[in-house]
Symmetry: C2
Subunit: 387 residues, 2 copies
C-alpha cells in the first residue's frame, strides 16, 4: 500500500512489505546478477576411491601405455598367426607352440593371436586349427586402450562408477576435482501451516553441492556466513508484514535482486554478505521449487563445475490442453502424463502441492510467450522417471 | 574343445570350461526365467522422514480434508467479496471489516476472499477497493487440495523429496513401501589385470536395492544366501579353465541359464540356491555392465517395485556411422556424441574401457536386427547427463 513499509534500500532495493513488488527482474537478468556474485570454487586432488560423484577439474590422463604389454582379450590358446597360414577344414594344421591363456593374461613370447576354444579342435591331445588367423586377433596391443599422456576422461566430467573403473584401468590413482560447493541452507519458520520445503537437500546433492547444517536465526547465519559457497534462505520473501528475509539481508549485506518475473517463485531474490552469495527462496513449496530450479540451481551447478542447464531428463510431448501465459513473466506449468500427451494441471498462481503430487513434469513458458495451444509440441522436463 | 571339461549338469546346464558355449539363450527368455525365480519382496510401513527414495506399495491417501479449513493463499487483506460489489475507480469502496492475513493463515469468519496489498488503496488508514472481487479469490477452500480418503500419491511411486512434502502437507505420517531388496554382491578375484567392476553398488542403489557386504568365497556365500533377495556373482563366468562360478552354482543349487545371446555379456547366467535367485555376471567390466543392465537390473527393479524398463534418460539421435550387428544376438553398442549425431565407438566384441570413457550412451540392437545404417535415427540410452 502506498506510503507503507518503505524501509532501507540496498543497491536500489525497496522494502516490499505490506505494499507489493513495484518491479520484477527478468529471470535471465537475475541469473546474470547472481552469477556475478559467485566466487571460484577451487579444486582439490582426491583418491579415486573418494571421487564418486565429483566433477573433474582437469582432464585425467594415462600415466603410462595401457595395457603396458599386449594381453589376451579372450580365453583360449595363444599362438603365432603365421603358424595357421594354409589351414582349412581339409587341411587342419597342428600347432605345436600353442599356450593356454585366460583373458587379461600377458601374451607369451612369439605369439600374436588368441583363438577361442571353439575355433580349435583337439585331436588326441594335439591342437589343430582349420582356418588361418589374423595377427592381433583376440589380443589388446601395448597402448591400445590409452597411450601414455592420452586423455582418459575430460575436464568437467561428473564421475560415475564406470568412469572410476576406466580411470583405475588406466593406472590413475587420484584425480583433480572441483571442490564440492558448500551450501548453507536456512529454512525459516513455517508461517503457512504447510510443511517447509525439505526437498532442497536432495536437489543440492543432485547439483553437486554439500548441504551444511542450518542455523535457526537468519541474522546470525548471515553473520557466520564465511564458510559457505552459497547460502539459501527459504521463506519470508513475500510482501506480508512478517516477510523480513530481504530486509535482514539488506541490513547486513546487499540485496541485488528481490522480485522475479517468474511464476511461481516471483518473490525470490539474491544478494551477498561479505562476498558470499545468498539466494532468497519463497517458503511456498512450489514457488521454492521453481526459484531453486531456475535461479539457485544453475548457480550451484556452475560452482560445482556442472552444466548450468536443467538436469532433468526431457521429452518433446504433445500438449493436451491450452497453456495461457502472461507475457512478461517466465512461467513454470506442471503437467501430468495422459497417454499420448501431457495435460497442464493448473496455472502457476493456482497450482498447489495436490497438482505437484500428480505432475510428471513441467513446461517452461518463456518471458515473451503467450503460451501454447492444445496440440502443440512442448518440451517437458521430467520430475520423475516415466514416459 | 569337444570332449573336454563336460562336468555336472543342472536343469540341462553344461559345463563350458575349455570348450565354449554350445547354445545361448535369448535375452527375453533369460529375463523370463530369472523373473520366475524371484520371490515377492513384501512391504513395510515407514515414517515419512525415512521414506526418501523408497517406492510406495499402496496408494497414499489423505487422512482428512486438506486444507482442514479454508486458508489464505496470499498475503493481504481478507474480506467479504460481497462488500466489494459496485466498486470501481470512480467509486472506491471503503471496507470496514478487512483483516490483514498472511499466506497459510486460517480465514477469519465471514470472509471469502483475500486481496493482495497491490489491489487496495490505503487512504488515511481506511482500506478501499477499486474493483469487485470474486468469492474464493486468493483462498484455498476446505478439501480443495485433497478430500479425506483421496489419493495423494499412487502405488509404485519412487518417493522424491517433493513427494514427501506433498504427503506431509496431506497430513500423512507414514507410508507403506516396498521392502528394500537386499542384494548380496560377490566380486570374485580379478583374473584379468583390469580393475574389478566396482560400479555395481551405484547401479544397485539406482535400482532401489541395498548392497550387502560381500563375502570372499563363492561356495560359502551361496551357502549363507538366505538373507538376500538377489545374489550377484561377478567374474569367472566364461569358458577358461578357472571359470568356476557356474560349476559352483550347479554344485550347490541350480543353473537356469548360462550363456546369453548378448554381446557384450554373453557369458552371463542365472540360477538359484535354496530359492534365492543368483545372477552370474562376467568379470570384464563392459560385459558386466551389459549383463547387469539387461538381465540383473530389470530383476532388481521388479523386486524394488520399480518399472523394469531401463532407467536411463534417452534420446532419438541420428547415427553418424554404420552399426553392423550379428543376427541372433542382442548387441549393446557404445556411442559418442558428435554434435548433430552419435557415432558408434566399436563393435561389442572389440569395445574396451577406453571406449566406455568416451561414450555418451549406448544403442541396443535387437536380436533379429542386422544393425543400422549411417543416417538412421536410433534410440540412445544416456550413460551421463548431456545432449
Amino acid at each position: 500500500m502506498d506510503g507503507m513499509g518503505q524501509g532501507s534500500t540496498s543497491d536500489g532495493w525497496q522494502d516490499v512489505r505490506r505494499s507489493g513488488f513495484a518491479r520484477r527482474v527478468a529471470l535471465a537478468e537475475a541469473r546474470g546478477r547472481l552469477a556475478g556474485l559467485l566466487r571460484p570454487t577451487g579444486t582439490e586432488r582426491v583418491a579415486l576411491g573418494q571421487a564418486a560423484g565429483r566433477v573433474t577439474a582437469t582432464a585425467v590422463v594415462a600415466p603410462r601405455h595401457v595395457p603396458a604389454h599386449s594381453v589376451a582379450l579372450i580365453d583360449g590358446y595363444a599362438l603365432s598367426a603365421a603358424a595357421t597360414y594354409g589351414a582349412d577344414t581339409y587341411n587342419p594344421l597342428p600347432i605345436a607352440g600353442a599356450v593356454e591363456v585366460v583373458a587379461g593374461m600377458q601374451m607369451p613370447p612369439d605369439t600374436d593371436v588368441v583363438l577361442p576354444y571353439a575355433a580349435l579342435t583337439d585331436t588326441q591331445g594335439a591342437i589343430e586349427v582349420v582356418e588361418p588367423a589374423a595377427p592381433g586377433q583376440g589380443i589388446a596391443a601395448v597402448g591400445s586402450f590409452w597411450r601414455e599422456g592420452g586423455i582418459v576422461l575430460p575436464a568437467g566430467r561428473p564421475l560415475s562408477g564406470l568412469d572410476l573403473v576406466c580411470a583405475a584401468a588406466a593406472g590413475v590413482a587420484e584425480v583433480e576435482v572441483v571442490r564440492q560447493p558448500e551450501v548453507r541452507l536456512l529454512v525459516r519458520g513455517d508461517k503457512s501451516g504447510m510443511p517447509v520445503p525439505d526437498f532442497l537437500s536432495e536437489l543440492i546433492s543432485r547439483d553437486g553441492g554439500a548441504t551444511l547444517a542450518d542455523v535457526s536465526d537468519l541474522r546470525s547465519t548471515l553473520r557466520e556466513i564465511g564458510a559457505a559457497d552459497l547460502v539459501l534462505v527459504v521463506g519470508r520473501t513475500g510482501c506480508g508484514g512478517d516477510d523480513d528475509s530481504a530486509p535482514l539481508l539488506a541490513d547486513v549485506g546487499t540485496v541485488t535482486v528481490h522480485g522475479l518475473a517468474l511464476a511461481p517463485g516471483g518473490s525470490a531474490g539474491c544478494g551477498a554478505v561479505d562476498g558470499v552469495p545468498v539466494v532468497l527462496l519463497p517458503g511456498d513449496p512450489l514457488a521454492c521449487l521453481a526459484a531453486y530450479e531456475l535461479l539457485a540451481g544453475p548457480a550451484l551447478r556452475r560452482l560445482a563445475g556442472l552444466p548450468e542447464a536443467l538436469p532433468h531428463p526431457f521429452r518433446e510431448r504433445r500438449l493436451g490442453g491450452k497453456i495461457a501465459s502472461q507475457v512478461g513473466t517466465t512461467e513454470l506449468w506442471l503437467v501430468r502424463d495422459a497417454g499420448d500427451e501431457v495435460v497442464p494441471l493448473a496455472p502457476p498462481e493456482r497450482a498447489t502441492l495436490a497438482h505437484a503430487a500428480q505432475a510428471s513434469g513441467f513446461v517452461l513458458v518463456a518471458l515473451e510467450s503467450e503460451g501454447h495451444d492444445a496440440g502443440e509440441t512442448v518440451l517437458v522436463h521430467l520430475l520423475r522417471p516415466g514416459p
